[in-house]
């Protein structure tokens, strides 16, 4: 049978040669080639680590430390002025946390225990469970009852209507302060573990400069996207009652419900998202981000411009909401405005999701599995 097919290889060889010659002259003027020659993922990762991730984590460490210190003095001396002081310190730490909310990989994720966001950023708070744990003096945090600890549980303890009297109560006040102290220590330890982990992980992060699942770019991007979708769905969507199956708005499911800081925290979270996309530091120092990546691609300019415009529009929309009016009050007074806010965030998703991931050619969502 080989004799019959011996002509075919010769033919195909000629075909190969001629096509090679053809292909060599093919890519010229008519189609402008992709000029992505100058984009280097390693340099982006370095910039991300040094301008975005590490400074934000350091801020979080400092503010958590400060919060913990004032917590200690509040435990000794639960006065009104002390309470106001730790409320402020809590807010500072939480704002810093929002800027680290997307770093749930590397040291930000502990096997079995889960991610930093899952462990420290859960709401709505299960107040009954919190009260039960206070009574039981239960300070063991190895279980998965995460809705009874972390930033938002602290917020409940510090900002709920009778916070001060409850802390000062001669019978149960000490237990309450002890629980506050325990979850603050837990949170402080978590943050410290993450920050100290990054001291060595920074190099791993920069060196892992591939594009497949598990590469630093993929980890950073996926967590960035998850963070944005979490902001949209859980901070705006659920309180506004837009989720399928919800029959009405659920103001009590908003973030920072007791302090009423939800609106400003949403804006802050959005700022964190924008900073990661741009690779910029919180102080405004520019770094290398996804915008620069798009800019390096011939086909990326359109998306770059569109996304920049969208960011600007959404910032204007964000600013149309007063910091002082909480999501909980807004969904009751002006539900359609909040629903519109959600819709605008929803419309923006594809600019960060499919359009971006497709253009930069990164194996994005395959945390597991192969392609072909």
């Amino acid at each position: 049978m080989n004799q019959h097919s011996s002509i075919l290889p010769k033919l195909s060889l000629i075909l190969i040669l001629s096509l090679f010659i053809l292909s060599a002259c093919k890519p010229t003027e008519e189609t402008e080639p992709n000029s992505s020659t100058d984009f280097n993922k390693k340099i982006m990762l370095e910039s991300m680590a040094d301008k975005v991730i590490l400074p934000n984590l350091n801020n979080l460490k400092i503010s958590t430390e400060a919060f913990k210190l004032s917590c200690d003095s509040f435990r000794q001396n639960p006065t009104t002025s002390q309470l106001i002081q730790i409320q402020e310190k809590w807010n500072q730490a939480y704002v810093d946390f929002l800027h680290c909310q997307a770093f749930n990989f590397g040291p930000g994720e502990i096997p079995v225990t889960g991610t930093m966001a899952e462990n420290l950023g859960i709401w709505p708070v299960n107040t009954a469970r919190v009260e039960q744990r206070i009574t039981d003096k239960n300070y063991s945090f190895s279980d998965f009852e995460r809705d009874s600890r972390g930033f938002q549980t602290i917020e409940y303890l510090l900002f709920s209507p009778n916070a001060l009297t409850q802390f000062q109560d001669s019978l149960s006040g000490a237990d309450r302060r002890a629980y506050l102290d325990a979850i603050t220590t837990h949170l402080h330890n978590w943050v410290n573990t993450v920050v100290s982990g990054w001291a060595t992980y920074r190099q791993t992060f920069v060196d892992n400069d591939g594009k497949d699942a598990g590469s630093s770019v993929s980890l950073l991007y996926n967590n960035f996207l998850l963070s944005y979708e979490g902001l949209k769905n859980y901070k705006l969507g659920i309180p506004a009652g837009v989720r399928a199956g919800q029959t009405q708005a659920e103001p009590n499911k908003s973030e920072s419900y007791y302090s009423g800081y939800s609106t400003r925290h949403i804006k802050e979270h959005f700022r964190a998202i924008e900073n990661i996309w741009k690779g910029n530091s919180r102080t405004g120092e520019t770094g290398i981000g996804f915008d620069d990546w798009l800019n390096s691609l011939q086909d990326g300019k359109t998306l770059l411009n569109e996304t920049q415009t969208k960011f600007a529009e959404l910032n204007t929309l964000n600013n149309s909401f007063q910091d002082t009016s909480s999501i909980a009050t807004l969904v009751q007074s002006d539900l359609s405005k909040i629903q519109n806010w959600y819709t605008e965030y929803q419309k923006f998703t594809r600019y960060l999701k499919s359009d971006l991931s497709s253009l930069i050619g990164i194996a994005i969502t395959y945390s597991s599995g192969d392609g072909d």
Partner: protein, 451 residues
């Protein structure tokens, strides 16, 4: 004339040839499948792919497939591993090859999300294994029962593999003959540059002409490689090309064991002498002595086999071309896209937002996809119309059970193809729960061009 041709063909495919290539294929496939099954288990994919998701996508026509639970799935993978090892050793070969085919194919059919052309190929190869007598030499079965030993097999057993592999390559090559692939070097123009981090070869991918060279070379390789492998003068060079090509794609793309599968499968093209030579090293190592009886292996029903052989290959040759029966852009509608050896042809992604409306109250809500789908499922669903339909039907049923009154499901789906700005796949007002999937044209999909 025709009768003569048929008779000629008949004697050709039933002529006897050495069993050696089949022994190689048996050992190689058994080995690869045991490795890939272990890999699958170790990576935790049984959990991620099959157990964790709330919802699974079905293959068209396989909606009835029972979805077994965690324990059974681990058992099935255990059976798959043991039967691949048994195939490798030729131990209870017939039963083992049947079990291997059934377990492998069952897991492939479990969820459409994970469809891969090379899994389809492996499924077909397992089907061949259960038909062919690959255990009649250098196997435990042939050792325990020397009477079954045979030095020869009918030609068709070898040609099943050669024919199928050729179809895979040629179809993959022909599919690359399109404007985007050849003229715009898409999607390679998107996929190659992010490989700049690779040691030594990394800088190659930042050169602006590399995507064009790779696009053309890939197309030419796919179309010509079966012919080059068939020719004994070109074969060593052709196999070198096979190794280089698949090693390169293995480094560049996240494609798992596929490069190894193809490097192993193409060994079938080598000469009898080549197979005998390496097997003689093996038989010496294991002190194997063949005791062939005079009667060589033969089958009755040669007529039926010839007909099935022809029917099978007719199907394999024609089925990939069914796309021609559908109007519109194949890459956009994906009607008849699967089972056609269209491998790594396009960069496509979507963002799909589903809305469920209670038709009694008029209240409409947004679905949070992550509640029902894992990342892999969401990504695949968001760009494939048939999966979008399935998901919409699932959502209707789910929310009906949750107490919504006669729910209506619609979706706003933006899809980006080869880096183009996302476009609407279909009318966001369309009630998807009323549309049934079928072989018919999905005329509710917007045309790609007019937007």
């Amino acid at each position: 004339m025709l009768a003569q041709l048929i008779r000629k063909f008949h004697t050709a495919i039933h002529g006897q040839t050495s069993i050696a290539p089949l022994i190689t294929v048996r050992i190689m496939l058994g080995l690869l499948l045991s490795i890939s099954t272990i890999r699958f288990i170790v990576l935790g994919w049984i959990e991620d792919h099959y157990i964790s998701p709330v919802f699974h996508f079905s293959y068209f026509g396989f909606e009835w497939l029972p979805r077994l639970g965690a324990v059974e799935l681990y058992a099935i993978h255990g059976i798959m591993l043991l039967s691949s090892l048994a195939v490798l050793l030729g131990f209870y070969y017939r039963i083992a090859s049947i079990l291997l085919f059934l377990t492998f194919t069952y897991t492939e059919l479990y969820d459409l999300t994970y469809y891969l052309n090379h899994y389809y190929f492996v499924s077909l190869a397992c089907l061949f294994l259960l038909i062919i007598p690959a255990h009649r030499n250098i196997s435990i079965d042939a050792w325990l029962n020397p009477k079954i030993q045979s030095s020869t097999v009918p030609n068709w057993t070898i040609w099943l593999f050669k024919g199928q592999i050729s179809i895979v390559y040629i179809c993959a090559g022909l599919a690359k003959i399109n404007y985007s692939w050849l003229m715009e070097a898409l999607p390679l123009r998107i996929w190659l540059p992010p490989n700049e981090h690779l040691p030594i070869i990394g800088s190659v991918f930042t050169w602006e002409y590399t995507p064009w060279i790779f696009s053309w070379a890939g197309m030419i390789f796919d179309i010509s490689i079966p012919f080059l492998l068939l020719n004994k003068n070109f074969r060593p060079w052709a196999y070198l090309l096979v190794i280089v090509f698949h090693a390169l794609t293995g480094i560049l793309f996240q494609i798992g064991v596929f490069p190894l599968v193809m490097m192993g499968a193409t060994l079938i093209f080598f000469s009898t002498e080549w197979h005998t030579r390496w097997q003689s090293v093996l038989t010496e190592m294991i002190h194997w002595k063949s005791t062939f009886s005079q009667s060589t292996y033969s089958v009755k029903f040669t007529g039926i086999i010839s007909s099935l052989f022809i029917l099978y290959f007719l199907f394999q040759i024609l089925f990939p071309w069914r796309f021609a029966l559908y109007p519109g852009n194949l890459f956009w509608t994906e009607e008849a896209y699967r089972f056609g050896w269209r491998v790594m042809l396009m960069e496509k992604a979507g963002t799909a937002t589903f809305y469920v409306k209670d038709t009694c109250t008029g209240k409409e809500g947004t679905v949070f996809n992550k509640e029902f789908l894992n990342d892999h499922q969401e990504k695949q669903m968001a760009m494939q119309p048939d999966m979008i339909l399935q998901y919409a039907h699932f959502l209707k049923d789910h929310y009906q059970q949750k107490g919504l009154c006669n729910p209506e499901v619609r979706a706003e789906v933006f899809v980006t193809l080869n880096g183009q700005a996302g476009r609407l796949l279909f009318d966001p007002q369309l009630n998807l729960s009323e549309i049934q999937d079928s072989w018919n044209t999905k005329n509710w999909i917007y045309p790609y061009a007019i937007q």
